[in-house]
């Protein structure tokens, strides 16, 4: 009976030792598992950061390309505007008649003629202003001619060389040629203006 008791005690001691060892193993395994899990988590986070960064790069790239596309389209649009009527100054745009009142038939014809008559009157005023400009230009040229004549008579250190006189004379001649051409255009403008007036009067 005692023998049996001793055996039982021995078995219990062995079992408890094995249990302790098992617990130890379990703890170690748990620790290893935790480390690995942390390692995995770190790896996943690192990977996620990398993916996020790449994603951001891609977004930036796409946005950059998009902006480039917009800029290109804008530039093309502006180019097109410059070559079309849209880019013309307001003054020129104003030349176009806009039938805002929604007129038709005879009323439209009359309104259109009236608008054109106003334009003729504006042009007539411009021609008058150009005439004044021509007169001022002629006076300026005459004054320059007189100054040159006076300078020609200078003696000594102030005397003009033949070359200087030729240069100044060329400037005067050029201005006179341009003024004559300008006067010619005014004259032809007047003729055209009168023809335009006649054309419009034929409709009334």
């Amino acid at each position: 009976m005692n023998y049996l008791k001793i055996l039982a005690v021995l078995a219990m001691v062995t079992l408890s030792g094995q249990m302790a060892q098992g617990q130890n193993f379990a703890n170690q395994a748990k620790k290893i598992g935790k480390d690995q899990a942390q390692e995995m988590k770190a790896k996943v986070e690192k990977h996620a950061d990398g993916m996020k960064e790449k994603g951001q790069q891609k977004v930036d790239e796409v946005m950059k390309k998009g902006q480039e596309g917009i800029n290109e389209a804008k530039a093309k649009g502006q180019e097109k505007m410059a070559s079309s009527n849209m880019a013309k100054p307001a003054q020129e745009k104003d030349m176009k008649f806009e039938n805002k009142e929604g007129l038709t038939g005879a009323a439209l014809g009359q309104a259109r003629t009236k608008y054109a008559e106003n334009k003729v009157a504006e042009s007539s005023n411009k021609l008058s202003a150009m005439n004044s400009k021509a007169a001022i230009g002629q006076a300026k040229i005459n004054a320059a001619k007189q100054r040159l004549e006076n300078a020609k008579s200078l003696k000594g250190a102030n005397a003009l060389s033949t070359e200087d006189i030729a240069i100044k004379q060329a400037k005067i001649d050029e201005a006179q040629t341009k003024l004559n051409s300008f006067k010619g255009s005014i004259s032809s403008g007047k003729t055209k203006l009168n023809a335009a007036k006649e054309k419009l009067n034929k409709f009334n």
Binding site: M95, L127, M130, K140, I172, F182, S185, I186, S188, F203
Partner: protein, 71 residues
């Protein structure tokens, strides 16, 4: 009864003739308006070209006149 019928027919005919006349008048007015617009645009284009030519020559003249200041 027959008289009434004749009256209806006559007034219908008059209405049709009146409509036709109105159409003709409107068509003629539209034609004249189109011709007027065409002429007015031609006149304005002519004036525009005159103005442009004058402005260009005025600019050229200005630069030549400015050159006279040092004489």
């Amino acid at each position: 009864m027959k008289m009434l019928n004749n009256l209806i027919i006559a007034s219908s005919l008059l209405a049709i003739v009146a409509c036709k006349d109105t159409e003709k008048i409107e068509a003629a007015e539209a034609e004249v308006a189109a011709a007027t617009i065409e002429k007015a645009e031609a006149v304005e284009a002519e004036l525009e070209s005159v103005t442009k030519e004058l402005e260009k020559k005025a600019e050229e003249l200005d630069s030549s006149l400015d050159a006279l200041d040092d004489i």
